[in-house]
Every structure is written in C-alpha cells, then in structure tokens.
C-alpha cells in the first residue's frame, strides 16, 4: 500500500469506489459524517443485526480513505481506486 | 561430587539455573531477598534475565509473560509479598503456565515479623488466589532439598503446565549446609504452545478468560483431571522410624528437623514414635497417612507446625477420624526447641 509520502501526485482527480459489507456495518454514521464528498448514506432498511447499514451512493468517490479510517469495523469498508477511464461496477 | 556450603536461598537459585531457568523477576523482602540477589548475580553470567520489578504484583505478572513466552521463569518472596502475588498465580494456573515461586515463610499476619513461620500454608497450599485451581507445593527441609527442589520444581511445572511453589521458612532459607549439585545440565523443552517469534507461534493464545459458562466449566474439569493425575503420581513424603511407631508426628520444613532430633532422643528412651514428613504439601501424602491410620499399632497423630494449625486440617482429612489427631504449634516466628518437642511428644504418648 502506498504511503501518503510515496503516493504519486496526480493532475487528474482520483476516482474511487466504495464497497460496504452491510452485515459488518453497525450504522454508526461516522463514515457518513466524515466523507468529504458526501457520497455515503445510511439506509432505511435494517441489516441482520438490526442496524441501518451504510451504502455508497454510487458515484463521486475519490478513494481518499477517510471513510475507511473513520470506520471502527475492520472489514466493513473497502475502498478501490479506478483506473483512468475505468467504469465503476454496477451494483 | 564435592559439596559446597550454601544458604538455602542461594542453593535454590543455583539449582534452578542448572534446571534451565534463565528468567527471574523479583522484589526484595526479608527473609527471601538472597534469592533475588543470587539470581541478580548469576543470571547475567549464564545468558539469563534478572529484573527487580516495581512490585510483587509486577514480578509475578512478568513471570506470567515470560512463562507464556516459553521460558523457565521464577520468582520468590515471603508472606506479605506472596499475598500480593496471588492475583498472578491464579492467572498462571488458569492459563496453565509452568513457573516456580519460592515462598520463604515469615511471621504473620500483617507485617508480623521476619522470623521463620509456617503460617502461609493456607494461602499457598489451599489457594490464596481466586478461583478453582491448585498449586503443586514442595516443602524442602534442608539446603540440599532447596537445591534439589529448585530442579524438581521446573520438571513438575513443565510436566503439568502448572505453577509450582517451593514453600519453606526463613530458617531453611537463611541457614547454610553442604550441598551436592547434580552433574546434569538441563536444556528446557521447546514449548509449542508458547507465544514468541515465528509463524508457528502466531496462532498461540495465552489466556484464562472463558466467557461462556459451559466452556469455563469444561476448562475447570480439564484442570481437575490434571490435578487428579498429579495426586496419583506426585505425592512425596519421607518416613522416619515409622515401622513400629505408635505415635506418628507429622511435620514439614524446619519443624521436621527439630522433631527428628526430638524423636532420636525419645527413641533411645524406648518411646515408639516416628514421623511422616510431607515433601509435597500438595498433593498431600494422604495415602500414607490413611495407611498409617489403618494400622492397629498407631494410636494417634501429632501435627507440629510453626503456625496456628493449618496443615493439621489436611492431616485430619486424611486420617478421616480413625485416630485422634493432636496439634502443637508455635507462632510469632518462634521455632520450637528440641527439648520442647520432647516434652510435647512425651505428653502426647502418655495421654
């Protein structure tokens, strides 16, 4: 994993994609509050443990990782970076 | 092998080092301090670790860590310090870690005094810490046995993954006698379950927490099964003049030495008295006592202790009411004299 010091500087804005494992999410909302792009939201539905899980709105992620480090669950959030021109997967 | 004259507190450490002990954590307290001092002197010479801990509690927890990491680790203290260590001892027993703790008894309760006493029998033999566990307890009565038990204790600790106490008193700790050490130098066994360095160690967990009641009950049952094996296999006792004895003295540690001298004198007078000396206080020599109690010639037992009567309960449990079990004790750090014991034993015989 590239550290911040070694991360290449980019002219074009990074594009990312967030995968949330809903059953590991406890709906605390920390990632929603932290996301600078405001692309995360809590769902009205409940997961199997009775929490309102978070979801990625589907667009706008810049792969900054702020949500990852604000989330207390080790495996609930995975952040991907998209290649130039690559399209996010359809969920 | 030639003999060398040493203090009990010194001999136990040199024995332990021959047995592969290379880690010592301790805290100074009279009359046990020479144990730490001896370890402080020799450990650096043999590639070992000595550290004077900030407290007895820290010392026993360092032992917990070192034992959990696979070392043959040791600590020592006396009365008040042993009380403080009991938290760690319970964790060590619960996590099934092998280690050796030397307890050099002094006068109590409270700060008491520093003279030799056996009032720590209850806390060491019957528990002291919380929960369902037992310590293996060795009770040396000479400097030679301090050295021998320093070696034996580690073998037992590793064999059963259990804390082993060496319980004795200030007199045995402080006195000097000739000692003969074995030629054998032990390299401790590799412990697969220990934490440490390497991928093979990574799955290992040292812990005594079992949140689920059924799991904890199963763990306690497993410990009990181990304790049963120890009871079956590790009882040690010395019989002295018991072949025709009508009165059986039961004593350990320094008291057994004085009693032996008293019995020598009484035997010359024709008094049929002998002694059973527990070498292991747990497992307690119940079979031996039970067998003696069943002998028709044996009329009574006399337990002599430097306490208010602690081991005597174990003797009574073993004798199961078949014969009277009398008690004579001194406290305050007073060692009964030979003359005093001759008087006591004679009174008991005539009673």
């Amino acid at each position: 994993m590239a550290t911040e010091a070694t991360a290449p500087k980019r002219k074009v804005r990074r594009r990312g994609y967030v995968v949330i494992r809903e059953d590991e999410c406890k709906g605390c909302g920390l990632c929603v509050a932290a996301c600078p792009q405001e692309v995360l939201e809590l769902q009205s539905k409940l997961n199997r443990y009775g929490y309102h899980p978070c979801r990625y709105k589907g667009a706008g992620c810049i792969a900054c990782g702020i949500c990852f480090y604000s989330c207390p669950e080790p495996g609930a959030i995975t952040v991907f970076e998209l290649e130039e021109g690559e399209e996010p997967p359809q969920s | 092998m030639a003999r060398v004259i040493l203090k009990g507190n010194d001999a136990v450490v040199r024995g332990a080092i021959l047995a592969g002990c290379r880690v010592y954590f301790g805290y100074p307290i009279t009359p046990a301090s020479e144990i730490a001092e001896t370890a402080a002197y020799y450990m650096p010479l043999v590639g070992g670790v000595f550290l004077q801990a900030e407290s007895e509690v820290a010392a026993i927890n360092m032992v917990y860590g070192a034992a959990g990491a696979g070392a043959r680790a040791m600590t020592a203290s006396s009365g008040p310090g042993i009380s403080l260590k009991m938290e760690g001892v319970s964790y060590i027993a619960g996590a099934e870690l092998p280690c050796v703790i030397v307890s050099i008894g002094r006068g109590g309760p409270g700060l008491g005094n520093i003279a030799p006493e056996q009032g720590d029998y209850h806390q060491v033999v019957w528990g002291g810490g919380h929960g369902n566990y037992r310590n293996i307890v060795l009770a040396p009565n000479s400097v030679q046995e301090m050295a021998d038990h320093g070696i034996l204790a580690f073998a037992l600790a590793d064999r059963y993954r259990n804390p082993v106490f060496i319980l004795t008193d200030g007199a045995i700790g402080q006195m000097m006698e000739p000692v003969e050490f074995p030629e054998t130098v032990v390299t401790p066994p590799e412990k697969e379950w220990a934490v440490g360095v390497g991928a093979a160690r990574r799955p290992n967990l040292i812990s005594s927490i079992l949140l689920d009641p059924d799991e904890l009950e199963a763990h306690v049952a497993k410990l009990e099964e181990k304790y049963t094996r120890i009871v079956e296999q590790e009882v040690r006792a010395e019989a002295y003049e018991l072949e025709d004895a009508e009165l059986v003295v039961v004593a350990f540690g320094i008291v057994s030495r004085v009693a032996r001298s008293a019995i020598e004198v009484l035997r010359k007078e024709g008094c049929k008295v002998g002694m059973l000396r527990p070498i292991t206080l747990w497992p307690f020599p119940e079979p031996q006592l039970r067998e003696l109690a069943a002998q028709e010639r044996v009329q009574r037992f006399l337990t002599i202790e430097m306490s208010n009567g602690q081991m005597v309960r174990d003797v009574r449990l073993a004798v199961e009411g078949r014969k009277p079990v009398e008690f004579y004790g001194r406290t305050g750090g007073n060692i009964p004299t030979e003359v005093e014991l001759i008087e006591q034993i004679r009174c008991q015989t005539e009673a």
């Binding site: 605390c28 509050a33 669950e73 080790p74 | 004259i5 020799y42 670790v49 001298s261």
Partner: protein, 484 residues
C-alpha cells in the same frame, strides 16, 4: 480497479475465537474508537512486516477480547498488568514486537505502577493507551481520565476535584521520565486527528522494530454507549471537552538521538555451567569423600567436644556469622555433616548477631542450637543471654578484652581469650573472630590448626586476607596453649 484501503491481513479473516454466530464483525459497540485503533495497529503490523513476531497483550476492559481479532501471538493479562506481562515476553524474546494495548482504567488506575516503571526502564515495547474518559466494559463508571463535572455511574453528580481529584494526564506523566523514546497524544475526533493517530501508531511500532525503546501513544477515543450520545456527537464531545483537558500533540520524539541498534545475542549458556555457578564441577569431590572416610565418628576429639552444638554471639560487625561459617565450612571440608543458622534481619544491622553451628558425624536433625556445648561470646550481653543455655560440662569462650566479667556458673568450663586485643596487636581488630577460631581449635581439638589453615580459602573470598587470618589463628592457639 485496485484495492486502495482494505482490512489488513494481520486481522483474522474470520474471528473463530469470537463466540456467537457473527464471526465477521467485532464485538465493540457502534462508533467505538477501539475498532479504529485496532485497524490502525493491524495495518502497521502488516506494512512493517512484523506479524510473525508480534505479541499483542489484551488487557482487562472492553479490549479484553483483542485476541479475537489480531492474527498475531496473543496474551490476555490481568487488569493493569499488561506492561509487566509485556516485560516478561520481551525479555524472553527480545526479537518479538510487544504491543501493550490498554484502556484508561487499566493503565491509569489499577496499572499505574506497571506503566510508569515499564516506561522508566525504557522497556522495548509499544503502549497504545486508549483514553475515553470512562470505564466501558463495566458499564460506565468513572475513569482516572473522566473530566471534571462529567457524570458517570459512580459520579452521578459529576466528577468533583475535591472528591475524586482531577483527570490524570498520562502522556505528560510518561513524558516526565527520561527513558521513553516517543510519546504522543492524538485524537480520533476528526480526519486530521485520525491521520495523525495512524502515523503515530506506525511510528511507535517502527521504533520498536528498530530497538529504539519505549513508546506510548495516547489516543483520545469515544465511548458513545458509555457517554450516552451518538457516535457523531461523541466526536464533537472529544473535540470540545476532552481535547481542552488533554492537549493533542507530540510530547517527545527522541529517535534521532537514539541509534537503531541490533539486538545483543543472549545465548542459552550450557557450557561450564558449574564453573559459572561456582559449584563443584562434575568429577570433583574425591578429597572430601576421602576426608569423610577419615573423619568417621570423631573419635580423635575429646568426648566433651564431640559432635558439638556451637553458638557464636556478639555485636554485628564483629565477624560473628563469619566465624560460624568458618567452623561449618571447615567441618564440611573434613567430611562432617554441618549446619549454620544465623540470626537475620534488622538485628544483624548494628545490633546483636548470633549463629547456631553444628558439626556432626551423623545426619543433623535440628540446626537450631538451644542447649549449647560450645558458647563463643564476643560481648557482655551475649554472655549473659546465652550462658544459661550451656549444658553442664560445656565450654564458654569469651573475649576478655571486651567482657569485664567471667561466666557465673561453676558447672561449665570458661576459657578467656582477649581476642580483640590480640587481633589489634596483629594490626586488625577485625581478625578477633579468627583469633577465637584458633583458640577453639586448640582447646577442643575439633579441628587441627593445620586443617583450619588449609581450608581458609573455602570461605575467605579475598585471598590477600588469608595470611592475616593465618596469623590470627596461630595467635589464638598460642594464647590457649601458653596462657599468654
């Protein structure tokens, strides 16, 4: 599509040790800071490639179950004792990486001694101190870091400094010590703080992997459940309340002053162990065995002095215990059974000292000398105290240069030796004890003078003192032999 941020590999994929059906989620409450800190530790362990040698210590508190998650060596420890347990692990395996993970009750209340001293020793470990100002596991009681006025279940009217004192600033406390290499306080309350925390944890572990010493990272973390607020509001409370009391920032980083040092090898020494321990080496002991044969039943000794029970008594500093040791040691070398039992403790520091010595051709029962065959008294109180214990027909040696009275009893033999004066004439009053040894040997025949001289080296460590001691022994013997 590249994975940019994902669950670190040093977490278990599935948490098999965790009870219940959910083995993929952690046990902490929603919004709890522990999970974030765990994640940062796991990431650092992974990136520094130290997973195979890391041992995480789970404390008592909510993080008692840290071992469910970290795919490393794990030890669960008693409340507050993690730094002591870590010390045991690290000293056993200096190449391990020890992480002491502790909460505020664990570290700053019940474990204060352990953390301060581990830090003071510069113990090579990393302490991650999670400060959330409350006891979470036990249900929201006051912690040592609970803020003034903060309500908890044990401060229902708010913490008052008059009653509970003020919050303990751990990072500052540790920073007051000389040894730690790195101390920093960080916060989880905002993005900047979390970035800083992640770097701090990584730095602390890196320093340990370079053997630079003790590091502590205090992390201000939230306990939404214990505080009774939402996770998002909890972060705000950290920012507004906690950070005012616990200032965030670097307190020290002395890595530049401390070289990254390789581990010193500490081999398990087996070779020459007897020699190192100063105990007889295998194959020795023939001389003693031969002596034991010759010693037999002590027939050559006058019956009055055979198998003697000896008491030596005097002031501390007169070499009382040493004389006793000399007698016992010589007896041992000659193949006898011997015992030496000192008075010990405060009484030997400036007060009176005495020891019981037995030399016997048989196994020794009691090492305690009550009824005394030979009393050696170096001062008046000792003579008065122990004279009554001398058996009828026994012998008393007393230092007549210091005792201006003679023994009162007429059923015992009294041998007056001005030992201190004779020693003074030899140039050192400290040799009085050995003057007395010479007198005892000469009088009782227990040992010959030659035997005493021959075995001096067995208990006199400073070899240059042996000639003086030889002269002292000779002088005492001459005095007894010639009466002057």
């Amino acid at each position: 599509m590249d994975v940019k941020f994902a669950k670190p590999k040093s977490f278990y994929e599935i948490y098999e040790r965790k009870p219940g059906a959910n083995k993929e989620g952690i046990h902490y409450c929603p919004g709890c800071g522990h999970g974030i800190i765990h994640k940062m530790i796991a990431e650092a362990v992974q990136d520094l490639e130290i997973q195979d040698r890391t041992v995480v210590i789970s404390p008592v508190g909510c993080s008692v179950f840290a071992y469910y998650y970290f795919d490393t060596g794990n030890i669960q420890s008693a409340h507050g004792r993690a730094p002591a347990v870590g010390t045991g692990v690290k000293r056993t395996h200096p190449d391990s990486i020890v992480i002491s993970y502790q909460g505020d009750g664990d570290l700053a209340a019940i474990g204060t001694a352990e953390i301060v001293h581990a830090a003071n020793r510069g113990e090579q470990m990393t302490v991650i101190f999670v400060n959330n100002a409350i006891y979470g596991m036990t249900g929201g009681q006051m912690a040592p870091t609970t803020l003034e006025g903060q309500r908890t279940t044990t401060t229902p009217y708010g913490r008052k400094k008059e009653n509970e004192g003020q919050p303990v600033r751990v990072a500052e406390l540790i920073d007051a010590l000389e040894a730690p290499v790195y101390v920093e306080r960080t916060t989880l309350s905002d993005v900047k703080g979390r970035t800083r925390t992640r770097k701090a944890i990584r730095k602390a572990l890196k320093y340990q992997s370079e053997n630079r010493g003790f590091s502590l990272v205090e992390v201000l973390s939230s306990c939404p459940t214990g505080w009774g607020v939402t996770p998002v509001d909890a972060n705000q409370w950290i920012r507004e309340k906690m950070e005012a009391v616990f200032p965030v920032g670097l307190l020290r980083d002395r890595a530049a002053d401390i070289e990254a040092r390789p581990l010193e090898p500490r081999p398990f020494v087996r070779e020459n162990l007897h020699q190192l321990l100063e105990i007889p080496e295998p194959g020795t002991g023939d001389a003693q065995a031969a002596a034991a044969q010759g010693a037999g039943e002590m027939q050559h000794v006058d019956e009055r002095y055979r198998n003697p029970r000896i008491k030596v008594a005097g002031f501390g500093g007169q070499g009382i215990l040493f004389l006793g040791l000399g007698i016992a040691s010589t007896g041992m070398e000659l193949g006898y059974q011997v015992s030496w039992l000192p008075s010990y403790g405060p009484e030997m520091r400036g007060g009176t000292a005495n020891c019981s010595v037995r030399v016997s051709s048989d196994l020794i029962g009691s090492p305690i000398v009550a009824e005394t065959d030979i009393l050696v008294a170096f001062n008046k109180p000792s003579l008065a105290k122990f004279e009554p214990d001398v058996r009828a027909g026994g012998v008393v040696f007393y230092d007549s240069s210091l005792i201006d009275a003679s023994p009162q009893r007429d059923d015992i033999e009294a041998v007056s030796v001005p030992a201190t004066q004779l020693a003074d004439e030899l140039g050192n009053t400290k040799a009085a004890n050995m003057v007395m040894f010479g007198a005892i040997a000469e009088k009782t025949g227990l040992f010959s003078l030659e035997e005493v001289r021959q075995h001096l080296g067995g208990y006199i460590k400073k070899k240059k003192l042996i000639p003086l001691n030889e002269r002292a022994i000779e002088r005492g013997a001459t005095y007894v032999r010639e009466g002057a």
